[in-house]
């Protein structure tokens, strides 16, 4: 390499300017090597200049390279035929590489002849004493980029035999640079402790850095994107003064998941094809709920109404309420918390939130799994109304960077009034649903023992949907579960929801 570099510099010194192909011919090395040497000289600074010129050139195919190295198929075959006695055709076909092409070409060139009636099967004899391998010679010229000496027929033949193809070659026009020199100083790559100690760094030349290359990745762990988004939502709730609810309870009774929320026992959501029921433990005891008459009040409001409601007018069964399920929403925990709140001697206005898993026995697709995370916020205070609900939802979504909101009347069994939350999606150019909300029904709150003038406003959304949008994930299985690509986990940016 160093020899080549000095040779090149000497040549440039003599000729002032030249092309890389010219150097190639002159030094008798492959073009690629010349380019390498030029780059290496360029790394020293402005010793030379090299202007790239892209041209279309013939280049060797893989087969062409093989022929250039080892000879054409016909020449190889010819060499394999012993002078005089020749050899059986079948043997040649087996032992010589590319024998079929080589055989037909050699035959056409009249280098060999075939005696079909020879004893022991067709036999091949040399027809000339020696051959000159013109094909190989031509390919060597192509490799050296000296194409001038090729005739048009030769080019055509090489192409036809797929030994060469048209390729793009970058040829450099090389000239002396402002700092031209014939001797290249040895360059240091690293600044070492020793250099600092001896002070030798002051006299050394350092190799230029390639700032285009990537650095080495630090060896570190990573947090899961969905849980990074969860942390952001928790932060928002905490900033807004909400208190986190204890939602670490996946198994819930139908009572707290449905009945306490005034969801009738014949409601379709309570069907086996929407909800996971359990065989173990199949049902729970509702002793505590029974003890203070709460269970009886829930039964009454479902069957006959009360608290200003006419109720659902059906035969409410405790056995149905005892059935254990995997909770279908975290609102089951909200109900427990509100019930506890009602048990305090004096009602305290409260803001609660939770983000945790819920389970639905639904059909699975690219955006639905049997388990997902529900984000829920609620405020319990005297005289809260729809305006407060919309106001706090606006505040919450502003913190997420979502500004254009509108509200659509909706139906939820346990809230009235109910509102679906829509936001304008700039990318899709339309309004999309981003959450659900409402004011909890009096039939839910009053049997718990909350004062009549207390309202509870609440809203909810899924954690997965905003995360998928944030991280550009289309299939939920690429986000959650064992099939997740950990590379996705490691390259994900930090989560800033308002960015």
């Amino acid at each position: 390499m160093e020899d080549l570099r000095s040779n090149i510099l000497a040549y440039i010194d003599k000729h002032e300017t030249c092309s890389s192909t010219e150097l190639c011919k002159e030094m008798n090395v492959e073009h690629q090597k010349i380019v390498g040497a030029l780059n290496s000289i360029l790394a020293f600074g402005e010793i030379i200049s090299a202007q790239p010129e892209v041209t279309s050139r013939l280049e060797l195919t893989d087969e062409g390279r093989q022929v250039a190295d080892h000879g054409s198929h016909e020449a190889v075959l010819f060499a394999s035929v012993p002078a005089g006695d020749g050899a059986p055709q079948s043997e040649l076909m087996k032992s010589v590489p590319n024998a079929k092409i080589g055989f037909s070409k050699a035959l056409a060139n009249r280098w060999i002849r075939l005696d079909k009636s020879a004893q022991g099967g067709p036999r091949v004899y040399r027809q000339v004493e020696s051959v000159s391998d013109r094909i190989r010679h031509c390919l060597q010229m192509v490799a050296a980029l000296s194409l001038d000496s090729l005739t048009a027929e030769e080019r055509a033949e090489l192409k036809k035999r797929k030994l060469v193809q048209e390729g793009r070659v970058t040829v450099y026009r090389v000239a002396k640079g402002p700092a031209f020199t014939l001797t290249l100083a040895k360059e240091e790559t690293e600044l070492t402790a020793e250099m600092l100690a001896t002070g030798v760094w002051q006299t050394l030349t350092f190799k230029a850095y390639n700032f285009k290359a990537l650095g080495q990745q630090p060896d570190c762990g990573h947090l899961h994107p969905l849980l990074k988004v969860r942390a952001e939502f928790r932060q928002i709730f905490l900033e807004m003064g909400f208190q986190e609810m204890p939602t670490n309870r996946y198994v819930e009774s139908s009572f707290w998941n449905f009945d306490a929320l005034f969801q009738p026992q014949q409601h379709p959501a309570r069907d086996a094809h929407d909800t996971f029921f359990l065989t173990e433990p199949a049902a729970c005891r509702l002793d505590a709920e029974q003890a203070d008459g709460y269970l009886a009040r829930v039964k009454a409001v479902h069957s006959n109404g009360g608290y200003g409601s006419i109720g659902y007018n059906y035969d409410w069964k405790e056995s149905e309420a005892q059935k254990n399920i995997l909770r279908t929403h975290t609102t089951a925990v909200s109900a427990r918390m509100l019930y506890q709140l009602a048990q305090q001697p004096q009602f305290q206005p409260t803001k609660y939130f939770s983000i945790d898993r819920v389970f639905r026995n639904e059909s699975l697709d690219a955006t639905h799994l049997a388990e997902f995370h529900q984000i829920e916020g609620l405020v319990a205070d005297y005289n809260l109304n729809l305006c407060h609900l919309m106001g706090i939802i606006r505040e919450f979504f502003h913190k997420l960077g979502i500004r254009r909101l509108r509200f659509k009347p909706a139906y939820n069994p346990y809230t009235e009034p109910s509102m679906e939350i829509f936001s304008y999606h700039e990318g899709l150019g339309k309004w999309v649903e981003i959450g659900n909300s409402g004011v909890f029904r009096p039939e839910m709150l009053l049997p718990m023992g909350l004062p009549e003038s207390v309202s509870v406003i609440a809203w909810g959304l899924s954690l997965e949907r905003p995360t998928m949008i944030k991280y550009g994930i289309n299939n939920i299985r690429d986000l959650i579960g064992p099939k997740v690509d950990l590379k996705m986990v490691s390259v994900g940016p930090i989560c800033r929801l308002d960015k």
Partner: protein, 592 residues
Amino acid sequence: MPVVQIEKAALCQCLNRKDFTDDEVDELCFEFGLELDEVTSEREMLAKEQGDAKAAQMGDQLSDAVIYKIEVPANRYDLLCVEGLSRALMVFQSLAQPPLYKAVQPAAGMKQMRVAPSTAQIRPYVVCAMLRNLSFTPASYKSFIDLQDKLHQTICRQRSLVAIGTHDFDTLTGPFLYEALPPSDIVFKPLNQTKEFSAVELMQLYSGESHLKAYLPIIRDSPVYPVIKDANGVVLSMPPIINGDHSKITLNTKNVFIEATATDAHKASVVLDTLVCAFSQYCSEQFTVEAVQVNYPDGRASIYPSLAYRQVDIQVDYLRKGVGRSDSQLTIDEICNRLTRMCLVAKATSDATVSVTVPPTRHDVLHPCDVLEDLAIAIGYNNLEMSLPPTLCTGKQQPLNSLTDKLRLEVAFAGFTECLTFALCSEKDISERLRLPLDSLPAVRIANPKTLEFQVARTSLLPGILKTVHSNRSLPLPLKLFEIQDVVYKSTDSSGSAVNSRQLAAVYYGKSSGFELIHGLMDRIMQVLGVPVDQYKLSATEVATYFTGRCANVLYKGSSVGTIGVLHPETLAQFDLTLPASAFVFDVEKFL
């Protein structure tokens, strides 16, 4: 949510708006709490279902008229048909007054339906009504059938609670009898069949029919099946399966006799009200229905349809506060006007109260809060003035979640990457694949899993992490993974409940077992948890998941909080892993 199809032309006509654009319809639906799901046509719908070629081939048989598919709220049975939906929108747009529905008893006496005691064994209730001098068009006839179908799918819970039968009254002779008979004693020609079948044969015949076989289990195993007959013994229907062919309604039917049998009397009455309210508009005397008397074995007589109008007195203050408007911003007159647009006719009874009349179409109104919602809809949700709740509170985290988040950071700082796997898994995942006997595990089992992946709630985080290792085994080694999540255990007491347990699990997977690294992570966690060295140690034990002699209990203050070790080669094989791995699992809640 149920979807109703309505032709654009029909909607435009009833809303008196020739130039309605799709966007305006969308906007109107949004404001009213409906969702314009799709704008399509008969041809487009067929093309979507059976391909463009088929739709083109049908040529003129298909209409290109624009059809709106509109989603209606699940509790608004009155909006389940074009008739109800368009009327509600007309009233909402102040283009019509809410109709007054009437049940009249004919001078010549009501038609009678006698209920036999035998029905108590299977389906004890029946309600009836008669629509007189009705003229069907092909469109309204189709809508009549569709509404019955939609009611069957929703409030009737697949006909289990209520089943509707409609009949051409002029082919029948009253009085009627509702009884329950042994299946072999019921013989009749069912709808669209050419010969008679016994009920036994019918159950056989319909077991292969996709649209009927779902209803068979409702009565199949009962010793008696319900049947309704007329005075001459003609079978009207064998609810909830099929009607008789004799009394079937056609486009030319003038007098429609409706019966609905049920296991829930209230729902039957709601269904009957809904059906007659929507279709009495086609009777010569609009919105008027002929009542029918049902005589129960105990001598009780009930008259249907009930078409009851209920008065609710509501404090004006409650309504104003609910939408955040003062006396001057929302007068009593305006309240009444707006409620009337929601078919809730209201009038002021004093300065402080309004009396709201809930019509028989609005069985969804249970409480004044339902009236409040309708008032807010009539004002327009998006016209309300938003304000923040005055509630002042201090934010507070659950200590367990706060600790979890801090630990997640520490473990990630230590070079481990977080997984997030499912809380549900197969029995095999937590038992056989971890080399543990299933009956030794306090696993919560799911009764109705759709696939093997949802048989139990996980009792360990390891299977999820090891599956994640498997899916990522082509990444550069070693893989260092962790997860802090809940597992679920069945309670040991008699409460019949279950508890979550917050666990931290970590796995090292590489060319060597890397036990010292997993051990080092455990040491580090104890360090950041501030556990003094003398309160934490490992003590050798044997757990089948781990390799013999390479497993220890993690002891904290003398009691076990988890296990650590080199995973057993057969555990690895269970997860198709070919390289060694070490792991630990421990209970985070012990460190709260």
